[in-house]
Symmetry: C2
Subunit: 200 residues, 2 copies
Amino acid sequence: MAAKKRAETMAENREKLIAAARKAFARKGFAAASMDELTAEAGLTRGALYHNFGDKRGLLAAVVNRIDGEMAARARAIGARRDDPWEGLLAEAEAYIEMALEPEVQRIVLLDGPAFLGDPSQWPSQNQCLVATQELVERLVASGFLKPVDPEAAARLLSGTALNAALWIAASEKPAEILPKAVEAFRVLATGLLAPAGAK
Amino acid sequence: MAAKKRAETMAENREKLIAAARKAFARKGFAAASMDELTAEAGLTRGALYHNFGDKRGLLAAVVNRIDGEMAARARAIGARRDDPWEGLLAEAEAYIEMALEPEVQRIVLLDGPAFLGDPSQWPSQNQCLVATQELVERLVASGFLKPVDPEAAARLLSGTALNAALWIAASEKPAEILPKAVEAFRVLATGLLAPAGAK
DNA sequence: TTATTTAACATACACACCGTATGTCAAAAC
DNA sequence: GTTTTGACATACGGTGTGTATGTTAAATAA
């Protein structure tokens, strides 16, 4: 065996570093995580890190991008299971809320990400999610199911509300008790978008 | 003149440090701000800082507490100007949205605060904004004007939605164009809380 | 196959920063 | 007037990031 191609081992090393960074960032937070420890746990040194990611923020960006992509895929899959588009939208948002129970998501994506990388809506991965829900809102508005709101604004506030609900849950001592209340409140708020019955 | 009392100069120094920290944190972010520069600009040294605030996080906590208090006071004053409690609530939330346009608020309270101090609702300042809106929601629910939602959940998501709208606006290139769309979408979402007409 | 180049990564170093331990001096207490 | 307190300055150690330099194995060319 062996006969490792060069690009192959490089990809493996990137994988190792991202995996180690996920654990370290989730446990210690981005600022307190040491790059020496990170790379040591991955069986490498800081040299590999700076060569692959440029600097510490570059590594964070890669990790955030990875997790965010996974979240989007999961949420989309859940939303797609519903026949009714509106219920699909709600299910997708609720999936996001529940994902924030995971410490990795909470610490890295919801807290350190915005603080060190800037506005999430400018992230490549987040954009996909936003664009998707925005298109869905556009369709629902065009069909008269929703009030004639600005689709971009509605999509952003919806996802932002879900995000905040997630943060609340994640920070509480008894997430299991909070979760249903948060989901219920989210649904109530979301109904504000619905067109009055019979408006067509 | 002169004859400064001891406690007096100490209070002045705390004031100077908090003021310098506000500027530095807002411009560089908490992590990148240097305590040496901070204290030098205030005409003091790190000795004063550690004596007064314990450590770097202690200083951030003091700054956040200060700004948070100012925000609560401003929002409450604006909300109190309305006769209708529901309109007062909306006005208060919109005031928050606009306040988040200020870099100090956005950077320190909305980004670095949660990242380095933890969940806002557990801050010593107890996030006065949240407490205030929660009480208002409780009254409106009791009077039957709103659906019987959980007041804490409703208040959390309302303020969270306002917060997110503010972040969106602040990050955009043309805030002036976005602001009305964000406010409108916020109002639409908020109407989801209203009890059906004629429900008493 | 052998020589040469490339580049992925390791090693070594310089600099900045936080936190603490110690020192100093003016104001308060007696 | 002497002593004591404590608010703040100074000095030091440890840690961590980023960069400059070195090394070696894979890729390329002769």
